[in-house]
């Protein structure tokens, strides 16, 4: 049998599940092709295939899918409705599969997650593996191994961040937001570059141990049901005592963020600023905002 090539768009949930996905398909012996970092071409293609009202991250995703077309046998486009009981994800994540299917009409992998309907991650990976023609036994062991690797890499990132917090005396900023915003070349990386030039230590909100998530999230938002936003909120609660300031990164116009950002901005006790990123290329406004935020933190340090 020829090796199956799986294309993974480097956008949206890629940044959350990349370790799991990549290692799962590797364990099954598939070829994997990942689209490159977002560049101008990808962004322009994405805008072309998107509705005007889509958020920036969605537009970018469309561009990444377009890049992968005809470069692989299947494209992994998950349909995630619910990953934790009684909680919700942004509707874009449940619409994504059908949206891509209707726009591009290419071979997509069937990857469905809806915990409220008892379709959990194991179920999703099993159906996905079976649809690609692998045996049940092989799928289960590939999934288990991938899950362990994901856990290990995640723990490693968290402990690396912990030791940075403990060892460095530089000004620290918590970059908080969805991973697909934080790590995208046209969203979070633009901010990251400014911070790095200013000699700031960056703490990322997704490097967070979710052990105390439920108690931590309640300090800011007791009745939140957006799973990914809860993670951001809990991480902010967790890190707010060890950082100098928080930059909340949002892509325009995000629905769930518009709700939870308000709660965060009103509750956090340290300097915080919300940067809303859109597809405009000029970053003068961004530079002014980030620089003046750093100025505030530096002045506060001097006063202490």
């Amino acid at each position: 049998m020829n090796k199956i090539t799986i294309g993974i768009p480097k956008a949206l949930l890629y940044y959350k599940y990349k370790d799991l996905w990549i290692s799962f398909f590797e364990n099954l012996g598939c070829e994997i092709i990942i689209s490159p970092n977002t560049n101008k071409q990808i962004l322009e293609d994405g805008i072309k295939f998107s509705m005007d009202e889509s958020c920036l991250a969605m537009k970018i995703y469309m561009g990444h899918v377009y890049y992968l077309i005809d470069k692989c046998d299947y494209i992994l486009v998950p349909r995630l409705k619910c990953i934790k009981k009684h909680e919700k994800l942004c509707t874009n994540f449940s619409a994504l599969y059908d949206l891509i299917h209707n726009v591009f009409d290419k071979n997509l992998i069937h990857y469905n997650l809806d915990v409220d309907k008892k379709e959990d991650e194991l179920y999703a990976f099993t159906t996905m593996g079976l649809s690609l023609g692998f045996s049940y036994r092989k799928i289960i062991s590939a999934y288990k191994e991938a899950k362990e690797k994901e856990k290990l890499l995640n723990e490693r990132r968290i402990s690396k961040q912990k030791s940075l917090i403990a060892s460095s005396n530089k000004i620290k900023i918590l970059l908080a937001g969805h991973p697909y915003n934080l790590y995208d070349e046209y969203i979070g990386k633009q901010i990251e570059r400014i911070l790095e030039k200013s000699n700031i230590d960056i703490i990322y909100s997704d490097n967070y141990d979710q052990k105390y998530l439920e108690t931590e999230v309640k300090q800011i938002a007791p009745h939140n049901y957006w799973t990914y936003n809860k993670e951001i909120i809990a991480s902010i609660v967790h890190y707010q005592d060890v950082v100098d300031g928080i930059i909340l990164v949002t892509s325009f116009p995000c629905g769930p963020d518009s709700l939870s950002n308000e709660m965060i901005l009103r509750s956090v006790k340290i300097p915080i600023t919300n940067l809303v990123m859109d597809e405009a290329d000029a970053n003068t406004g961004l530079l002014t905002r980030v620089e003046s935020f750093i100025d505030i933190l530096e002045e506060r340090r001097k006063q202490k």
Partner: protein, 316 residues
Amino acid sequence: MNAYLGVDIGSISTKGVIIDDSNHILASSYIWTQGNPMKAVKTLMHNLEKQIDKKKIHIIGVGTTGSARKLIGTMLNANVIKNEITAHAVGTLSLYPNVKTIFEIGGQDSKIILIEDGIVVDYAMNTLCAAGTGAFLSSQASRLGVDVEDFGKIALTSKNPTKIAARCTVFAESDLVHKVQMGYQKEDIIAGLCKSVVSNYLNNVGKGKKIKAPIIFQGGVSKNIGVKKAFEEEVGCEVIVDENGHLMGALGVALLAKKSPIKTNFQFSIADDNFETKGIECHKCSNHCEIICVSRNKQLIDAWGNRCSNGDLMNR
């Protein structure tokens, strides 16, 4: 005598000051940018040069701020290039050490700066909306056939300001046209417009911020007495407009240049050099960055805009 030059170059106007070691303003100038920051700065230099005795005064520090700060900073070989929020705060604090809140409405953006114990603790800028900025007011003035400079005075004569939808420039404009066609008085509409600028500002930029007195109001729009009055009615206390309010950014960055350990040797003759900018698109990777190249007398002095080292024209 040592002196320091500060230049604040915004979308609409360009401001410059020269201060001495005890922070006195020796010279100042305020001109329109007219879409050409480099030309505006040359004019500004000539204006400032005339006001001082060049034999006695040596400029050893240059600071730039405003949206063209990088370009002009490169051109003037500035030792400090600072964002306008910090520059405005520093400038205002030097004259009003007790200030708690700064309202700033300029040609294209509006900001609020919150200060506690002489340091900036929070700020906000308008994001995706330009409603209520200077550009909006001047376009509405020309629609009503009034000089924007007279706006404030006319607004004060109104006894019954018309309500104008403030959410958004587009809605405000169509609402304004509607009110005109309905037969409302011009002064009432103008006063309503001033009020809408204020409520838009407070609901947008000032949203969720604790506004405490003393409040200083700056930027081009602060020259509009109608907006000042509308602010005072809305926040319920005095709003101070300094006669040098338009120079605060330039003053602030001049003070920062003074504080900076780096010194430069500035000559006014720089204004006679031939500066050029050129935008080129880099094709070395798929990002296609637009790189701005600045040259002085045909020699490349700086370039920026590249996302990766492929487009680094300076260090090759």
